[in-house]
Amino acid sequence: MMLPQQVVPDTTQTTAFDSIWANPDVPVETLNWLDQLMLSQDKLFVVLAVVLIIWFGLVFFVFRTDRKLHRLERTLEERIGPKE
């Protein structure tokens, strides 16, 4: 209930005296650098992150297969000697 002598705070201009500054619910810039990046450009970087997860996941897998092949090559060399 608004008393007649009270003045509605002016929130159209953000001066240091506005009541809006005292309101804890007002979102403030507390985003860390990662969130700032991810939410910029209409969140396009989220798609980049997803693509990179898949890319590095598959690269990691290919490297594991490669390591297995390398082990096989070494075993083969031990058994029948290096390829001439």
Partner: protein, 243 residues
């Protein structure tokens, strides 16, 4: 081991590999085309450009399902024929299923963090479909735990094949039926179609090729693994010439 069942069709593999590389390149270009060029996607609040994750996150699950189909197919054929090559193929396909499942979980979690859970610190909030998918990956993870517990190749192959049948039976329920019965943030929950009216038809133009492309990529990686495993088995056989 019969020659016709053990050989990998290398010329076919090379052809598929070349097609997959070109196909995936075009798919990624299609996925990132915007700015009035072509395949412009509609703007949706909160989702914004992350709608493009439809082309990357969702095919992970389609690919995982394809991998489980390949895996159970070879497990069944192992139980019928007793050829160990079938066990090898089932094992490698199941491994790829786990890989794509983990990628699906990681990409989904990232996507959710910046859309569903935007403004919070949440990466994971036990959305039914997430949880079921995680359980599904664990079921396939247990397949490898089971394998590692058994030493005799024949016995291991047989028990793993039977387990794989049970694991496969859970796939449609955990990834398809149950999430649709529960309240979920995922599209397709509570009996809705997964492609709702907010999914613009133009997105299907990239989405379906993406599914095909990722399944092709799975097939390439799977064939590499099978070739490596066959080489391993031939080397192991050299150690035991009398067997």
């Amino acid at each position: 081991m019969e020659a016709d069942t053990s050989a990998v069709n290398v010329p076919l593999y090379r052809k598929v590999r070349a097609v997959v590389v070109v196909w995936m390149t075009l798919m990624i270009l299609g996925a990132f085309s915007f700015g009035g060029l072509w395949l412009n996607i509609p703007r949706i609040n909160i989702l914004e450009h992350t709608a493009r994750n439809l082309y990357f996150h969702v095919p992970m699950w389609f690919t995982m399902m394809a991998a489980t189909v390949v895996s159970v197919n070879h497990s069944l054929r192992y139980l019928k024929s007793g050829h160990l090559i079938r066990d090898t193929r089932a094992r490698e396909a199941a491994l790829l299923a786990v890989v794509f499942g983990l990628l699906g979980l990681a990409t989904g979690s990232t996507w959710a963090h910046y859309t569903w859970y935007e403004g919070s610190d949440l990466w994971w909030n036990f959305d039914p479909k997430q949880s079921m998918a995680a359980v599904q990956v664990l079921i396939y993870g247990a397949y490898f735990v089971l394998r590692s517990a058994l030493d005799d190749p024949e016995k291991r192959a047989r028990i793993a094949a039977v387990y794989n049948l049970f694991a496969f039976v859970t796939v449609p329920f955990l990834l398809y039926v149950l999430p649709r019965q529960l309240e979920s943030l995922h599209p397709g929950a509570e009996g809705n179609p997964a492609f709702s009216e907010i999914t613009h038809p133009i997105m299907r133009l990239v989405f379906y090729p993406a599914v095909v492309g990722f399944i092709g990529l799975f097939w390439v990686l799977y064939t590499q693994r099978v070739r490596t495993a066959l080489l391993q088995e031939r080397l192991d056989a050299l150690d035991m010439p009398d067997l």
